[in-house]
């Protein structure tokens, strides 16, 4: 199959306008005859469900949490980018587009990224109209902060809780449509499969997490807004429930999975403290605006620090290595995430890590507090500092924070075209669940932007074109494909419950996480990846032979939920390794040790790898087939990324 991105031809700045004009429309009176299923109620899902319902479509919205307001978008801290140029500092749609393409290390699609930058300005207007309490200046206008990978201040924020405020905005819009009877909400309901009829997505199979009831839902189109798959690493900053199941099952029904190896390891997380740890906590990247990253300049001193013989304040200024400021004088502590993470790993690998495990660096606010006062820093980051103190028991106003990179976001996801349609017609993917806008590395404050862009301003236009073409005739809910998919789901659940082995689900999840982190984490090489592939295959076999899933299907059964998700992670893990092995270049968050510049920076191979790797599922336990979407750059020149 040739992957057609459906990117409109013509000048970059006119593509979206022209495309909207050329898209077919559904007559307002006909819209109510169409049913649309939205899976996931985070920024992408809630905004899409609300916007589609406002247009008049009949929407069903599903989430596994007890309320749509709890989707993991809520945890995003730092902010949302928009090319408003309110600060008069040289920002523009083109600059946001350019920064995003460059930040993504030239592995994203120009047309999609430009559109993202274009609609970013509408998002802020929309959120403000909903009553989202963004930070403001004394004159009453909106405030901005700067963020990694950019030299302008274009990030809008609501203290350190921007994701929460944006999600509650989208949730309020969704709630309004529920009240209007336009959206039917299904909380505590998990999507278990996509139903396809004649190659088109025509519905889903769900499991009611309270009663265990397996049900089918028919619709004219299905939107997967189900987030990323960072939990394949077991330890990540994702919520405990975040999973790949919806996307993965869609993948097995024909949706290609793109760039699965592109994982973002966020530089500013609270370091791991022990084996019992269940998740990692991110500290917003915005901290790097005022915090300075450093380690002791010698191994000996770091060792004393680790043993508790000296304290950070005992280390003199000239004995500190502010390595980001030293290596990247123009961006300093604000280099993109992948660069910051890799450098933290490098200094720790050199033996300069500052906590007991040797895997931490300092993020120091001493100078900012001396410059701006403790109160000023508290006003900016108070909640983050409190959170840090609660988790670690240390006061970051008095002693530097300790941070280390952790898995945070996955740039890969379901392949989508310009319309956000997957390779299965009628099946769309929005937000982190798709692969589209961030290339090999996402810039800070761009995830919120993409989720809301897709949901509020892209899919409401593009879906009409598809729906107008298929017509409003109701989908036959009695089609045998529904019964078949339902049976498949029930059989898989029974299989999990009948193994009755000796090891818990978490045992397998942790084991998988170790493999992924060690061999498919911040640095990857062919030897390690090949080894990891075999290990994952073995682990998967063992899972299906020896996992212990207690209880029954017909009840609230959190072990069963987890087992079903981990089963999918065990398959996805192998595809990530395959993809990382195939991509014999370094780009963004994907660092192959075989491919680096003399200074140790990621070295791309544009001649051989300027493409999107889209994988097609063939059969259980069989290699997937690689399809390539060439990336054509008509507007930007590919250069070696430099933040020096």
């Amino acid at each position: 199959m040739i992957l057609d991105s459906k990117s409109p031809i013509g000048p970059l700045a006119e593509k979206w306008t022209k495309h909207k004009f050329n898209s077919k429309l559904v007559n307002p009176a006909n819209k109510r005859k169409y049913e649309v299923i939205v899976v996931g109620t985070g920024l992408a899902g809630a905004s899409a469900a609300a916007s589609l319902a406002e247009l008049g479509y009949k929407v069903k919205a599903f989430c596994f949490q007890d309320s749509p307001r709890r989707a993991h978008s809520i945890a995003a801290q730092g902010g949302i980018n928009a090319a408003k140029n309110y600060q008069n500092d040289g920002d523009s749609v083109y600059r946001l587009f350019y920064d995003t393409i460059k930040g993504g290390d030239y592995r994203s699609r120009e047309s999609n990224v430009y559109r993202l930058a274009e609609v970013s300005v509408n998002i802020i207007d929309q959120c403000v109209a909903q009553g989202v309490p963004f930070a403001r200046e004394y004159g009453g206008l909106l405030a901005n902060r700067s963020f990694g990978g950019a030299q302008v201040s274009r990030t809008f924020y609501a203290r350190g809780q921007t994701g929460q405020q944006l999600l509650l905005g989208a949730y309020s819009a969704l709630s309004r449509q529920v009240a209007n009877g336009k959206v039917k909400l299904y909380p505590r309901t998990e999507m278990m499969d996509v139903v396809t009829i004649d190659g088109h997505a025509r519905g889903i199979v769900t499991r009611n997490l309270i009663t265990g009831a397996i049900e089918t839902h028919a619709a004219h189109a299905v939107l997967l807004c189900t987030g990323g798959y960072g939990n394949v690493f077991f330890l990540s900053t994702n919520a405990m429930g975040s999973n790949v199941t919806a996307a993965w099952r869609a993948h097995k029904k024909g949706a290609y999975f793109a760039n699965p190896c592109y994982t973002q390891i966020h530089p500013t997380c609270i370091p791991v403290s022990g084996d019992h740890q269940s998740k990692l906590t991110l500290m917003s990247e915005s901290l790097r605006n005022d915090g300075r990253v450093w380690v002791p300049s010698t191994k000996e001193m770091a060792e004393k620090l680790r043993k508790g013989e000296i304290k950070p304040k005992d280390i003199k200024e000239e004995e500190r290595d502010y390595y980001l400021e030293r290596k990247y004088p123009s961006f300093g502590n604000l280099v993109p995430r992948d660069v910051a993470s890799r450098n933290a790993k490098d200094v720790c690998d050199e033996g300069k890590g500052v906590n007991e495990t040797g895997e931490a660096v300092f993020l120091d606010f001493r100078d900012a507090i001396n410059r701006d006062s403790e109160d000023a820093i508290r006003a900016r980051y108070g909640n983050l500092f409190d959170m840090y103190q609660q988790i670690t028991g240390e006061n970051p106003y008095q002693t530097p924070m300790k941070i280390y990179p952790a898995v945070h976001y996955t740039m890969g996801g379901l392949w989508v075209d310009y319309n956000l349609s997957t390779t299965v017609p009628g099946l769309y993917s929005l937000g982190e669940a798709n692969f589209s806008d961030h290339g090999a590395n996402r810039l800070g404050a761009s995830a919120l932007m993409q989720g809301l862009a897709d949901g509020y301003f892209v899919v409401p236009y593009t879906i009409g074109d598809y729906l107008a073409q298929i017509g409003p005739a109701p989908v036959d809910a009695n089609h045998p494909e529904f019964a078949k998919a339902e049976k498949g789901v029930k059989d898989a659940i029974q299989k999990l419950l009948s193994i009755n082995g000796t090891k818990t689900v978490d045992h397998f999840h942790k084991a998988l996480g170790h493999i992924m982190w060690n061999y498919c984490g911040m640095a990857r090489d062919a030897e390690g990846l090949t080894k990891a592939k075999g290990m994952i295959q073995e682990l998967r076999k063992e899972f299906w032979r020896d996992v212990k899933v207690l209880g029954a299907n017909e009840e609230l059964n959190q072990t069963l939920e987890k087992a079903s998700r981990v089963a999918d992670f065990l398959e996805l893990g192998e595809l990530m390794v395959d993809d990382a092995l195939n991509r014999n270049e370094s780009c963004g968050g994907h660092f192959r040790t075989e491919s680096q510049t003399p200074e140790g920076e990621a070295l791309r191979d544009d001649e051989n790898f300027a493409y999107v790797a889209a994988w097609k599922f063939m059969a259980e336990n069989s290699p997937e087939e690689l399809h390539k979407e060439p990336l054509v750059f008509e507007n930007v020149k590919l250069t070696q990324r430099s933040y020096k």
Binding site: D66, Y86, Q130, G139, R176
Partner: protein, 249 residues
């Protein structure tokens, strides 16, 4: 650390339920409370016993999903969410009693999991500004004094966990409802529907079976996000002026 856990076990909504005691050992002070629960559940699973079900998701104190009533306090002894409570708040040898939120409007689903759908329905009754996507003014055309924006933000930080209801002897949802009413009443965007919003949200709150407010302030004292009682005062004012001017006669 060695602890004794007294945990509420209840098979489903119709089961009567009761406390079961579990001894647990090898708990470190750095663990979060929920990680301690994970350790217990791993032990139970290996023994072939049904793990204790509890709600949790983000584990960074913002999603509002976790909801354990610990030693007589929602989210335990500190003013934080359960997931941000660490075992260093307890001592070796402690007995810890763990219950679900208890309120008529929050029926128990299983063990420590409750149904908080009532909160969603209160928001659906009016916790929004009636604007469609698109066609809104430029963001900077609605200037908002910083003080007002900050105060609205303070109200908007509610995470909808329900600790206020669990803490209240009347199981009142006034703090939750008032936080949303306040946020929108303070902002210019919320003015148009200010009256009807207060009326409808309060009516829904009553319909759900939440109790009345008797100003004991337990909700504020236990709220992990520090939502202030001022919100309730503001809601009472909003509701009172709304009923004077009400068009629902």
């Amino acid at each position: 650390m060695k602890l004794t856990l007294k945990i509420w076990r209840q098979k489903n909504a119709s089961d009567k339920g009761g406390f079961v005691t579990y001894p647990i050992d090898g708990i470190s002070a750095d663990m979060s409370f929920l990680e301690m629960m994970d350790v217990l559940n791993e032990e139970l699973a290996i023994k072939g016993q049904d793990p204790v079900h509890f709600d949790h998701d983000c584990r960074e104190g913002i999603c509002g999903m976790c909801s354990l009533y610990i030693n007589g306090h929602p989210h335990g002894p500190k003013q934080t969410t359960t997931c941000q409570l660490h075992m260093r708040s307890f001592s070796d040898g402690d007995t810890i009693t763990i219950e679900p939120w208890r309120a008529k409007a929050f029926p128990v689903v299983k063990d420590l999991v409750v149904d908080r759908g009532a909160f969603d329905r209160i928001i659906q009754a009016g916790g929004y500004v009636n604007v469609n996507t698109g066609g809104v003014p430029d963001a900077n055309e609605i200037p908002i004094p910083k003080r007002v924006a900050d105060e609205a933000f303070d109200s908007a930080t509610c995470i909808g966990c329900g600790a206020c209801v669990a803490a209240c002897k009347n199981a009142s949802a006034m703090l939750f409802t008032s936080a949303k009413i306040s946020q929108l009443a303070m902002l210019p965007q919320g003015q148009v529907e200010r009256m009807s919003r207060a009326e409808n949200m309060v009516a829904q709150m009553d319909e759900e079976g939440f109790g009345a407010c008797t100003n004991t302030g337990a909700c504020e004292a236990e709220c992990p996000k520090g939502i202030s009682l001022t919100n309730i005062a503001r809601m009472n004012r909003e509701y009172f002026s709304a009923s004077l001017k009400s068009e629902n006669v």
